[in-house]
């Protein structure tokens, strides 16, 4: 009988993540069905959770800021529209798209806010995918506690299951401050109570749930309380936006990933000033280009051993479609 390493069970969902100007594409447990060990892990999870995770891909788009006009980025919705076209044009489109906030840029004019939210829906609607989920950013919900967002998009905190993975949308913006709040944390605790520790969780939020750079408002004041609720779970991935750049961070056994924005980028957290990176008219999607984020990789062979499809992607800033197609090709095992 094959003995399954607990680390393997925890890490089966390690994401081969591609952070793009067009968002980030993830593959979940791609080789679970292909290897003996993967099948074993899958059976264990099915017994524990009632549903075995099945391979699937999903994309994350963030910070589309519909309605924003430069400087520093005069391109408006061009990158978002391009991302939508790339995703819709894929030979095998992802099953699920997550938008991690700041769908729109805020406005003092309520009618304009409505127009921007409708425009967002129109562009997002061009992507033919079965499931599309979103959460607000502070530019969508900070000014009115999320009232208009709820009217147009629905609840700001909720959960759903997809192929054996439990997804949680967690609002950390509509209280105006960078916090989730005690009510939502209590809800999270109740929501997760029915799941076993081996259930793979994907939490998506707008601001980082850890102290990435508090003086730039890159934090959530009660993020540690959220982490305490998630602590019993062996396989937790947090996806967020807000920082307009990619970032990967591991804390304990929770992996945090930020996707790039679809408007201007911010510098790395080590920079002295939070000043948007300058726009280059000759390379309008610069800093929104392709980039592969490895999770697992050479230093985590156990993660790969259970069949993560680690895709080697070449950075090519204007080759969005090609990059996606590369990702969809099965990787050599």
């Amino acid at each position: 009988m094959t003995k399954t390493n607990p680390l393997d069970r925890r890490s089966f969902l390690r994401l081969a993540g591609l952070s793009l100007g067009a968002g980030a594409l993830y593959r979940v447990g791609g080789a679970l069905a292909q290897t003996g060990e993967g099948k074993s892990v899958s059976r264990l999870l099915a017994a524990a959770n009632g549903e075995a995770p099945a391979p699937f891909a999903f994309a994350q788009l963030s910070d589309t800021h519909v309605g924003f006009q430069g400087p520093p980025d005069p391109m408006g919705t061009a990158a978002f529209e391009r991302a939508a076209a790339v995703l819709d044009g894929m030979a095998a489109r992802p099953e699920l798209i997550l938008f991690t906030g700041d769908l729109t840029h805020d406005s003092e004019d309520q009618d304009e806010r409505v127009r921007r939210m409708r425009r967002f829906k129109e562009i997002a609607g061009r992507i033919r995918v079965p499931v599309m989920k979103m959460i607000p950013g502070e530019h969508d919900a900070g000014i009115d506690g999320g009232a208009l967002y709820r009217e147009i998009f629905g609840e700001t905190t909720y959960s759903f299951d997809h192929r054996g993975v439990h997804f949680v949308a967690l609002d950390n913006v509509s209280r105006a401050r960078p916090e989730v709040g005690p009510e939502r944390i209590a809800w999270l605790k109740a929501d997760l109570a029915r799941f076993s520790p081996s259930t793979p969780l994907v939490v998506f939020t707008h601001r980082p749930l850890f102290d990435l750079k508090p003086e730039w408002e890159w934090f959530t004041s009660d993020g540690d309380k959220v982490m305490n609720v998630l602590a019993p779970f062996e396989n937790v991935t947090v996806l967020y936006g807000h920082i307009h750049r990619e970032d990967a961070h591991v804390e304990g056994r929770v992996r945090h990933y930020a996707a790039r924005s679809l408007v201007f980028a911010f510098p790395e957290p080590a920079a002295a000033q939070k000043k948007p990176l300058p726009f280059d008219a000759k390379r309008p999607f610069a800093n929104l280009g392709l980039r592969l984020v490895h999770a697992g990789g050479e230093k985590a062979p156990a993660a790969r051993s259970i069949g993560i499809e680690d895709v080697e992607l070449t950075m090519r800033e204007h080759s969005g479609t090609e990059g996606f197609q590369q990702l969809l090709r099965p990787s050599p095992t």
Partner: protein
């Protein structure tokens, strides 16, 4: 009974001394007025001394703003029509960026001031 009365006098005397001491300390504290309005603080830079206790008096001219600096232990909100007080004693020198962390509109992300601690 006499002992209780004496003890009571001693407690009163101690309390009075404490109050006077606090009063002198409060009188000695430097007060810095800071005004918030969308999307700036005024002044933009405040110089403090390491080890000096300063009383910050915060006002908002328009909407609710935040006032946050993790390393100095400052985390409060400034409501219009009220004075919010924060007492700070910086322990180390340096430049500390204070941000508004209560979303106040499209320029919110750039609303900050700097404490220069010498």
């Amino acid at each position: 009974m006499g002992t209780v009365r004496n003890l009571s006098r001693a407690v009163c005397a101690l309390a009075l001394a404490g109050a006077l001491s606090q009063s002198r300390a409060a009188a000695a504290e430097r007060v810095v007025e800071i005004t918030a309005k969308r999307f700036e603080f005024s002044p933009r830079e405040v110089t403090l001394k390491r080890g000096e206790t300063v009383r910050l008096q915060l006002h908002s001219e328009d909407v609710v703003h935040g006032f946050f600096q993790r390393k100095l232990g400052i985390d409060t909100e400034i409501e219009p029509g009220k004075t919010t007080e924060v007492v700070v004693t910086p322990a180390e020198a340096g430049r500390f960026l204070v941000i508004c962390h209560h979303f106040c509109g499209s320029g919110h992300g750039g609303m900050n001031l700097v404490f220069v601690v010498e």
